[in-house]
Amino acid sequence: MTTMTVGAAINAGLRKAMEDDDKVLVMGEDVGVLGGVFRVTDGLQKDFAEGRVVDTPLAESGIVGTAIGLALRGYRPVCEIQFDGFVYPAFDQIVSQLAKMRARSGGRLALPVVIRIPVGGGIGAVEHHSESNEAYFAHTAGLRVVSCSNPDDAFHMIQQAINSDDPVIFYEPKRRYWEKGEVLTSPTRGLHDAAVLRSGTDCTLVAHGPTVKTALAAAAAAEEDGFSVGVVDLRSISPLDTETLRNEATSSGRVVIVHEASTFVSIGSEIAASISESCFYDLQAPVLRVGAYNMPYPPASVEDDFLPDVDRVLAAVDRSLSY
């Protein structure tokens, strides 16, 4: 067990995966000498052969498209998209090719490609650098979508994602890159298992990636006011660990989902729909969603107001409890 930041944990996980399997490649814009704009791939090019850590031309469709070609040849490419808002030029390659290749080939081909995306707001960035676009990929059949929230998961989940024979969109919580935590030697959970970080009898918060910390803070605050509020870290967005969600929802009877993305047609919608269906007789209140207002991510000077914070989460918990 060692202590490291989320960013360093992903770096260590990549390194481990590259050591374990020489078919693992890292590719993307500025991932080599620079080590990526967040330094997540720092030192990898130096320590592995250059061909295994590739600075690519500046073209996201090209990154994913060539990664597909490499995967068809037996490699396991890990692509970095520099910022969430720059994944869209690759959308066609992701949605029509990466996601569908196995089905299109009648199950003959597999594309073990990982696409790493630093996601979300909270770092004072300019436009297109703070987006939460999980819903697009979660809605796309053929992909797996995961989201880590802490160093231990960061370290293990990146390796599990690389080991997956299916394509995985791997979200990294940008504003949590520098947060420290303990990393265990072996993984405690599978890639697609949710984690119950705390159990609650009054209400359950469901979060993933950057909002897990917010949810934990809100739960702690609620506890001071005498309420028992649980927190589930989804970890996997597609597939969802519906069993864990159902169990927690059933036992608390109240659920509030917290994510940075806009709520309209979102992961929150899916969880609310699914829990409302599976726990119909057990819910004391409707499932509530706390997320972005349905507008493009605003200028940084207002992002603190915009991002779901403890106050907005607690307000939703109050509302839930009022039913």
Partner: protein, 371 residues
């Protein structure tokens, strides 16, 4: 064949001006040797092989089209008219060279040993693709235009890492050349000096859109600008296509980096069995191209080169047998089974699909019991 150094003199040349290079030809539309053909010589044996490939490919189209008319296929996209471009190029590759086709490369696919059944199942609605690419080293068809050029480029970068002398070939059309992906692939392959052969069948049309709307300069001129080794060939002259592809792939294998071949050809039929090309192009234009039919010219050439009736008779018989096979294989194609598909989306288990597989099976049972 002649020494490549000799071929160079005909094939290379200026390509920067907006007109581009004249297209390389060995056999003229009337079946006689061109000047280059005279100088370089043409192997009659090879010509017979390639001609046979073309005849079978055309026969597949004819049969498939009539099967479509009979309702046995939902759709068919003809390679009719483009046989020389496809056969000449694929036969110049090594069988070990990987190919990423678009969706009209039936003639090339047949040369790689893909069966008519496997070619037709996609157009019958039985599956989304017909074959396992690993055997024939021929990837499944890509219908989203141009996407396959990036797959070829990535695949080729693996070849470089492994220090093989493979060439990775990719086919696409004049229309597809306007897509961002295709240009990213040109650039990526050029910047990385990757062993990719970009083969454009410029069949003059993208559905109803003529090349004049797609581009200002010939594609081989554009490609040269990216730093690709670029060629311009009469795509209806199978010997010329074969010669140029041989030269281009030799240079790629020698480490020269990627190349592009622009083959001028023509789509004799509609875009697909559903298209009516009379809505957008003139009979005169079609008639003009018919004079340049790749098969007719080779037949005339071969008859002139004394390939006897024996050859043609045997071939006609082979084609008839093949046609019967095509019909039989088509009729033998079964539809898909939805229940099977749940297992073919992911490699590893997936709870959502597992649940849906059960729900679907349950639904079928319920339906069955109700009826």
């Amino acid at each position: 064949m002649t020494a490549p150094t000799r071929l160079d003199a005909y094939v290379d040349g200026p390509r920067a001006d907006s007109e581009g290079r004249p297209m390389f030809q060995l056999i003229a539309p009337d079946g006689t040797l061109t000047n280059a053909g005279e100088q370089l010589g043409v192997s009659v044996e090879l010509a017979q092989e390639l001609y046979s490939d073309m005849v079978l490919a055309r026969r597949l189209d004819q049969e498939a089209l009539s099967l479509q008319r009979q309702g046995e296929l939902s759709l068919w996209l003809m390679s009719w008219g483009q046989e020389a471009a496809q056969v000449g190029s694929i036969r110049a590759l090594r069988p070990s060279d990987m190919v990423f086709p678009s969706y009209r490369e039936h003639a090339a696919a047949l040369c790689r040993g893909i069966s008519p059944a496997d070619l037709m199942r996609q157009w019958k609605g039985s599956s989304h693709s017909g074959w396992d690419p690993k055997g024939p080293r021929f990837h499944i068809y890509s219908l989203v235009l141009g996407t396959q050029t990036l797959h070829a480029t990535g695949y080729a970068s693996g070849a470089v890492m492994e220090r093989t002398d493979e060439v990775v070939a990719t086919y696409f059309g004049d229309g597809a050349a306007s897509q961002g992906d295709v240009n990213e692939a040109f650039n990526w392959a050029a910047a990385g000096s990757l062993p990719v052969l970009f083969f454009c069948q410029n069949n003059q049309w993208a559905i109803s859109t003529p090349t004049t709307i797609q581009m200002r300069t010939p594609l081989h001129v554009r490609a040269a600008g990216f730093g690709l080794d670029a060629y311009h060939v009469d795509g209806n002259d199978v010997m010329a296509v074969h010669a140029v592809t041989t030269l281009a792939t030799e240079r790629i294998r020698d480490g020269g980096g990627p190349a592009l071949i622009e083959a001028q050809t023509y789509r004799f039929g509609g875009h697909s069995s559903s298209d009516d090309p009379k809505r957008y192009r003139s009979d005169d234009e079609v008639a003009g191209w018919e004079l340049r039919d790749p098969l007719r010219r080779m037949e005339t050439f071969l008859r002139g080169a004394n390939a006897g009736d024996e050859f043609f008779d045997a071939l006609a018989q082979e084609a008839d047998t093949f046609a019967a096979t095509v019909r039989e294989q088509c009729k033998g194609l079964a539809g898909a089974d939805l229940g099977d598909l749940f297992d073919r989306v992911y490699v590893d288990a997936h709870p959502v699909l597992d649940e849906e597989r059960l729900a679907h099976a349950h639904h079928l049972t319920t339906l069955g019991s109700e009826n």
